[in-house]
Each structure stands twice: as C-alpha cells, then as structure tokens.
C-alpha cells in the first residue's frame, strides 16, 4: 500500500512487529514503520473489536495504539523507533496490571 522513498540499504534498524524482524529508518515513527511494512491495522478497538490503523499521524486520534516493549496503549505515531524495539498489534482492551 505504502512505498518508501528510501532504498533498502538506508533502513539500518531492525524492529520486531509481532515477532517479525522488520527494517526501519532512523527517525521513523512506529506508525510510519508499520505502514511502510504493510501493517495497516495496528490494533482492534476496545469495545467492538473493529480493526483500526494510524489515522491522524499527529497524536490526536489515538487510533494507532500498539503495545511497545510490553507497554500497552502507546501511540505509534508519537513514538520514534529504536533498534530492537518490540511492537505488538493490540487486540482490544489493554490488560490491567501490564
């Protein structure tokens, strides 16, 4: 769906999306890295379980919530990737106590 303007060799970082090693660029947001690698839906909603993906990309809509390194309900569009970061799509409500 989305195609990167950068070449493969300009993606030196490796992040893990639902366990799959995925290349990313310095400065990518988690949302950009997910969209750039074909992960359009990053979560399902807390009430009806509908798939959702990054929408506003500026921290307002809270539709891009994901689990990052174990922390649930993080905004993918407001978080910059780090080498080795573990990202999980979030299914429904976050768990209490995690």
């Amino acid at each position: 769906m989305f195609q990167r303007l950068t070449r493969e060799r300009e993606l030196p970082l490796t992040i893990f999306i639902d366990g799959t090693a995925t290349p990313a660029r310095h400065g990518d947001t988690v949302a950009a890295a997910m969209l750039g690698s074909g992960h359009v839906a990053c979560r399902t909603t807390a009430v009806s379980g509908t798939p959702r993906g990054p929408y506003c990309l500026m921290g307002v809509c809270f539709d891009c919530l994901v689990k990052i390194d174990g922390d649930a309900n993080r905004q993918a569009c407001m978080t910059t990737v780090r080498d080795g970061m573990r990202i999980e799509t979030q299914r429904g409500k976050r768990e209490y106590g995690t």
Binding site: A46, V47, N73, K93, R94, Y96
Partner: protein, 376 residues
C-alpha cells in the same frame, strides 16, 4: 400578553435531566399528555457528569425513610431497565453485583462501622444485609486491592449503570410514549392561574399541572408557585482512565469500571458555588487514594477529567412536595438522580398523577420539614 386559548398539556415537567426525564417518562406512560422543558447543552447538568452508582449502603443516616426509599428504588431498578429496553431497544448496562466502601486506615474502618451501625439502629429502619470485612476477606472478592486497604464495608444491594445511556433511554422512551420535548427552553417565569399554569421562557406553554425537576434551577422557580427548594451546588470531580480489560467484579464507592472498560474515580466533595473547574490538588488526592486501593491503576493513562455539580438539598435528603397555595404544582429534587431513577420513573408518577402528594408514605420528604414549627 394574550393568554393561551387552551391548556395544552396535562403536565409540564420543568427539567430534562435524570429526575425530570424519569418523572416525565412515568407520566407519559400513564397516558398523560406531557411536555418536558429543558435547558440547552451548557446547562449545569448533574445527569451528564455523575458517577452513575446505584448506591444503597450508606444512604439515609438521619432519615430512615430515605434509606427505605433508596432500597425501594434499588429493588425497582431491574424493572426500569427492562422496560426501557423493551420500549427503546437501549441497554442501560445495569449491574447490581454489590459494592465496597474501601477503608485505608483503622480509624476509617471504625468510623465506617459506627456509621453503618447508627444507620441501622434508627427508628423505622428496615435493616438490609451488609458486612464489615477485613483485608483478607476483601481481597478474596477484590483480588487487585493494595496492602493499604485495611478493610471494607460490603453491601450486596449496590450497583451501577451507564448513566448516559439511561438519560438517552428515558428521553427516547418519553417521546415514544407521546411526550413532547422542548430543548433550549429554560423556564424563566411561572404564572399560576386557576386550574392551570403558564410557563414562560424559551417557549410559552400552559399545563394543568407542573412538576419542578430543574435541579439547581428549582431554587429560583419554587417560590413562584408557593414551594420551597433549598438546594445548593456541591462540586464533585471525576477522573477517567483509558479502557482496560475487566478487573473489578464489584463496584467501589469511589472507583468503578464502566461497561466499556474505562475506570472512573470520584472521591471529592467541595462547596464551590457554580464553579465547574477542575483542580489538580483535588485530582491528585483522588488519584493517590485510588492507587492505594488498586496499585495497578498507576499504570493507566488518564484520558479525561471533569467537575460537575451535585444538586444538594439543605439537609441532603430528597424533596417531593405539592404546593399548598397552588395545588397541581409539584416539586422533585434530590442528589441521587441515578440511584433514585427507578423510584422517580415507577413509584412517584402515580402519586403525582393522582395528586396524592405529600402522602403518608412520602410525607417525610415534604419541604415543610424546613419550616419552623407553627403553634397550633
């Protein structure tokens, strides 16, 4: 001004919050033609800011009739929820699993035990089941409590509801029963005439009988028809967290998890006049106490805070009355619009409809209790 050519409605209910909507719904279901006059979106509206508990365990200290009335409403709640579901298709998410009042120190525990003992020792009290629990007993039912919780009082009658769905369902049910809703029509003046009342403000209508259910607005309206409504605003603040998987199988008096998973925290009472601003000082104390009760709450993101104004009668108890000077003018005003919604929707309308108020059963709620006793 030309007077209206005919009396348009059997009843006009002033106020479209939970109290007004419940009574208006109840009257419309009895086949009366009813107008409900409401203010606009910027009205002080406890019905949109409340904490949505159906709370029995501590109500009625100092007036056993109020404890019983609360109990009657709590018992009637399943009937109200079922009727609204049938009429509107809306689920108000009623749950009555029982509620805890969590206590964070030995002195809180002792005070609580004494207050509930006093409540149950009152003359005229019909006792209900409640238990004082220690930490271990509380933890068995609420496994997520923190070590600071010394104990709790638990009452199996307590519950909660989705109060926004309730308000919507009452409005929809009212209109499905033929009621007419007038939004943005605050009432500024009531003109009592023989056999009817003229209401003037956002709209001019007339009705044979009127019910003042305007919350804080009742204070200025009541004297226009010979009634008395000593009510004042009492501010409460609320914190709401992001949605989280269900972890509470019960309600706590200051913390509840909504049907959709948000956690609401409400633990403040302030005399602040008509001021609905939130303050970080109060919110911080509320959050700190909540985290001591449920330590993992500290990890949740807060998504919203607000303040709302309780409608607090002078002595804290509801006021239901009919004007002596202008019979047919009724008043209903109270703090607990959610808990008492079933009483207001199912038990009160027959009394209002037949003019049987204040009657023997509800005499204790007449505003005549505020008068200095007259010599006979």
């Amino acid at each position: 001004m030309a007077s209206a050519p005919h009396t348009e409605f059997d009843f006009a209910v002033i106020g479209g919050g939970l109290v007004g909507a419940a009574i208006a719904w109840g009257l419309a279901r009895r086949g009366r033609s009813v107008a409900m006059l409401d203010e606009g979106d910027i009205a002080f509206r406890a019905s949109r800011g409340n904490f949505a508990l159906i709370w029995v365990q501590s109500k009625g200290g100092g007036m056993s009739r109020y404890a019983l009335w609360t109990r009657e409403s709590s018992d009637a709640w399943p009937q109200l929820a079922a009727a609204l579901r049938i009429e509107t298709g809306l689920d108000v998410c009623l749950q009555q699993p029982g509620g805890f009042h969590l206590l964070l120190s030995q002195s809180e525990l002792e005070n609580r035990a004494n207050a509930l003992k006093r409540l149950h020792n009152q003359p005229g009290m019909v006792p209900f089941e409640y238990h004082m629990l220690d930490h271990a007993q509380t933890e068995k039912m609420l496994p997520e409590i923190g070590p600071d919780v010394v104990g709790a009082s638990f009452c199996p009658l307590d519950g909660h509801v989705n109060a926004l769905c309730l308000l919507r369902a009452l409005h929809l049910g009212f209109q499905r029963n033929g009621g007419r809703y007038f939004p943005d029509c605050g009432v500024e003046r009531i003109e009592p005439r023989s056999g009817e009342f003229g209401l003037h403000g956002g709209v001019d209508i007339s009705a044979h009988k009127i019910v003042l259910a305007a919350g804080l607005g009742n204070a200025p309206l009541a004297p226009m028809v010979g009634l008395n409504a000593p009510v004042r605003p009492q501010r409460g603040q609320i914190i709401v967290t992001e949605k989280v998987a269900p972890f509470m199988n019960y309600v706590v008096h200051t913390i509840r998890q909504t049907d959709e998973g948000s956690v609401m925290i409400s633990d403040s009472v302030e005399e602040a006049g008509f001021d609905v601003s939130v303050g970080s000082g109060v919110l911080a104390v509320m959050a700190e106490r909540a985290v001591r009760m449920f330590p993992h709450l500290a990890k949740l993101n807060v998504v919203r805070c607000w303040a709302a104004l309780r409608v607090m009668p002078q002595d804290g108890y509801p006021i239901y009355d009919q004007s002596k000077v202008w019979p047919g003018a009724f008043i209903a005003t109270c703090h607990s619009g959610v808990t008492l919604a079933a009483a207001h929707a199912l038990l009160l309308p027959p009394c209002i409809d037949s003019g049987d108020l204040p009657n023997e059963s509800l005499a204790a709620f007449s505003a005549r209790r505020f008068d200095v006793p007259a010599t006979h």
